[in-house]
C-alpha cells in the first residue's frame, strides 16, 4: 500500500516537470496556432546555456536561472521576430517545417560545441535531501521544489493570460489578427512576446531537467513527445489542463515503471493512446480548432 502511495507521489512530482515541458508548447499553439517541433531541443539548449553559465561564473544551477531565463526569453523574441513570424499564415505547414529544421540545427550545433558526452548539473546537497511527509512516505526536496515551481509557473501563466493587458492582447490576437491590429496591437510584437514567454518557461524546464537527469544533444525529441502528450491529454488551450495532463502522464509512467522498469515510457504512451482514442479533444479542452 505504502508502495503505491510512493509510486503515485513520484509520478505526480515528475508530472510537474512534464507539465512545464508542455506549458510553453501549449501557450504558443494557443496564441498563434504554431506547433514548435524544436521545443524539446530548446529545452536542451537551455540546459547547455545553464551549463556554460554555471561553469563560467561558478554559480549553482538554480542561481543561474537569473541569467538563463532572460537570455532564453530574448532568444525567443528574436527567433519569432526574425524567423518564425515569416512562416505564419493560413497554412499550418511552414512553421512545422521551419521548426523541424531548427530542431536539426540546434541538435547538431550542440553536438559540435559540446560533443555527445552526457552531462549533468550539480545542485549540491539539495539533490539528495529528503523530507518526511508522513509515516513511511518520503519525498526528495528537489522533486518537490520542481513540482511547486511547475504549479507556480502554470498559475503565473494563467494570471498573465486572464488578468493582464498582455494576456488580453494574446487572446485577442489569437481570435482575430486583423481586428487586433485595429486596436493598435502590432501582431509581430505580440507574437514575439508570446515566444519570449514560452522560452522563459523552457529555460526553467531546461535547468530543472539538467539538475534532475543526464542530458545530451539528442534528448530534445523525447522531451517534445512528453510535452505533446501532456498537452493532448489535458486538452488544447487550457493551462490547468496541461498541468493535469503532465500529472497523468507522470503517474502512468510511474505505475508502469513499478510493474517493470522497462515499461516506464511505454506505459505513458499507452495511457496517451487510450485517452486519444476515448476522448480525442482531451480532458479539459478550451480551444475550438
Amino acid at each position: 500500500m505504502m508502495d503505491w502511495i510512493n509510486v503515485i507521489l513520484q509520478g505526480v512530482l515528475v508530472g510537474g516537470l512534464y507539465a512545464m515541458f508542455a506549458a510553453g508548447l501549449s501557450l504558443i499553439f494557443g496564441v498563434m496556432r504554431l506547433v514548435n517541433i524544436a521545443h524539446g531541443d530548446l529545452i536542451v539548449l537551455a540546459a547547455y546555456v545553464a551549463l556554460v553559465i554555471t561553469e563560467t561564473f561558478g554559480i549553482g544551477p538554480l542561481v543561474s536561472l537569473v541569467v538563463v531565463v532572460p537570455l532564453m526569453a530574448a532568444i525567443g523574441y528574436m527567433l519569432q521576430r526574425l524567423v518564425l513570424n515569416r512562416t505564419l499564415g493560413e497554412d499550418l505547414l511552414p512553421p512545422l517545417l521551419v521548426t523541424f529544421g531548427l530542431s536539426v540545427i540546434i541538435q547538431n550545433g550542440l553536438l559540435a560545441l559540446f560533443t555527445a558526452d552526457s552531462r549533468k548539473l550539480q545542485a549540491g546537497d539539495i539533490e539528495v535531501a529528503t523530507i518526511r511527509l508522513f509515516e513511511g512516505v518520503y519525498v526528495g526536496v528537489l522533486p518537490l521544489l520542481q513540482f511547486v515551481v511547475a504549479v507556480a509557473v502554470i498559475a503565473a501563466l494563467q494570471f498573465v493570460f486572464y488578468r493582464t493587458a498582455l494576456g488580453r492582447a494574446f487572446r485577442a490576437t489569437a481570435d482575430s489578427q486583423s481586428v487586433a491590429q485595429l486596436m493598435g496591437l502590432d501582431n509581430r510584437h505580440v507574437f514575439a512576446l508570446a515566444m519570449a514567454l514560452s522560452l522563459a518557461v523552457v529555460a526553467i524546464a531546461g535547468v530543472f531537467l539538467a539538475v534532475r537527469a543526464n542530458f545530451d544533444p539528442s534528448q530534445g525529441p523525447a522531451r517534445l513527445i512528453f510535452g505533446f502528450e501532456a498537452v493532448i491529454i489535458g486538452g488544447l488551450g487550457s493551462l490547468w489542463g496541461t498541468l493535469a495532463g503532465g500529472l497523468i502522464l507522470g503517474v502512468a509512467q510511474a505505475i508502469g515503471a513499478h510493474i517493470d522498469p522497462g515499461w516506464q515510457v511505454l506505459a505513458g504512451h499507452i495511457c496517451f493512446l487510450v485517452i486519444l482514442a476515448v476522448r480525442p479533444e482531451g480532458l479539459f479542452p478550451k480551444v475550438r480548432l
Binding site: D175, S176, V179, Q181, M183, G184, N187
Partner: protein, 235 residues
C-alpha cells in the same frame, strides 16, 4: 478660407489580388463632420473603410489624415494616429468578455473623454453584462460593444461599417439615437450604411458609391430620392 479636411482621400485605388475594387476614388471628411457613404453591395464601401484603416494597401499619398500621409501604413499604426474602425459584422473578440473587449479598445491609452464609465453611461445595458462573454449578447448589444470599443481609443475619426447590418429596425433606431452624444464630443464620423434613411438623417454630407467610383456627392438635405436611386443602382 477653408481648413484642410481632417481626412482626405485622393485618387484611391484598391485591389483584392488582381481584382480592382476602387477606381481613383476621392472624398473627404472635415473635422467634426458626419459623412455617410452609401451604395449597393459590392460598390466598394467596406473596401474604402478598410483602406483608410490600413487593412488594405494604399499609395502613401492616397490617404491624408490630420496632415500626415497614412496610405499604406499598417493598421496598428493608423489606429495610433487616431482612427478607429468599427468593423463590418462587429468583429468582437470571442475569447474576451464585454469589459475586456472595451479595455482592449483602450489599449492605446490615447487621452480623451471616453473611458469605461462614460461607455456604461451611454449604453447602460453593457454595464449590466460587463463580465459576460461578448458573444452571449444580442446582436444590437454586440453592436453597442463594437462601437464603444472604437470610442475607447478616443479617436479623432470613427469609421462605422454597416452598423445596422442584421439588426431589427427598432434596435437600429435605438443605436442611431445615441450617435449625437458621440458626435457632440467632437469626433468626426464616416458612416458606411445600407440603411439610406438613417444615413441621411444622421449625417451632413453623403457620397454614393457605385462599382468602385463616386456616383453622387452632396449635402444630405439637398439630395433627392430620385438622384440617390439613380446613383445607387446606376440607371
Amino acid at each position: 478660407m477653408s481648413e484642410p479636411p481632417l481626412l482626405a482621400v485622393r485618387d484611391l485605388d484598391a485591389f483584392y489580388g488582381d481584382f480592382q475594387a476602387l477606381f481613383g476614388l476621392s472624398m473627404e471628411v472635415a473635422a467634426g463632420e458626419a459623412v455617410a457613404v452609401i451604395g449597393a453591395n459590392g460598390a466598394g464601401k467596406s473596401t474604402l473603410l478598410k483602406s483608410i484603416a490600413g487593412l488594405l494597401r494604399a499609395r502613401p499619398d492616397a490617404i491624408t489624415f490630420n496632415g500626415a500621409r497614412i496610405g499604406g501604413m499598417p493598421a496598428h499604426a493608423v489606429a495610433a494616429q487616431g482612427i478607429a474602425l468599427v468593423p463590418e459584422g462587429r468583429g468582437l473578440f470571442a475569447s474576451l468578455s464585454v469589459e475586456e473587449n472595451l479595455l482592449i479598445g483602450g489599449q492605446l491609452k490615447r487621452p480623451g473623454p471616453w473611458n469605461l464609465q462614460r461607455v456604461y453611461e451611454l449604453f447602460p445595458v453593457l454595464g449590466e453584462r460587463r463580465h459576460l462573454a461578448s458573444t452571449a449578447l444580442s446582436g444590437g448589444q454586440q453592436q453597442m460593444v463594437a462601437i464603444s470599443r472604437g470610442l475607447m481609443s478616443n479617436p479623432k475619426l470613427l469609421l462605422c461599417d454597416e452598423i445596422s447590418l442584421g439588426l431589427a429596425p427598432i434596435v437600429v433606431r435605438d443605436i442611431y439615437a445615441r450617435l449625437p452624444a458621440i458626435l457632440g464630443q467632437g469626433i468626426s464620423l464616416l458612416l458606411v450604411e445600407q440603411d439610406v434613411v438613417q444615413a441621411l438623417k444622421t449625417t451632413q454630407r453623403v457620397y454614393c458609391l457605385q462599382e468602385g467610383r463616386v456616383a453622387l456627392a452632396g449635402a444630405a438635405k439637398d439630395l433627392t430620392r430620385e438622384a440617390i436611386a439613380a446613383a445607387y443602382f446606376g440607371v
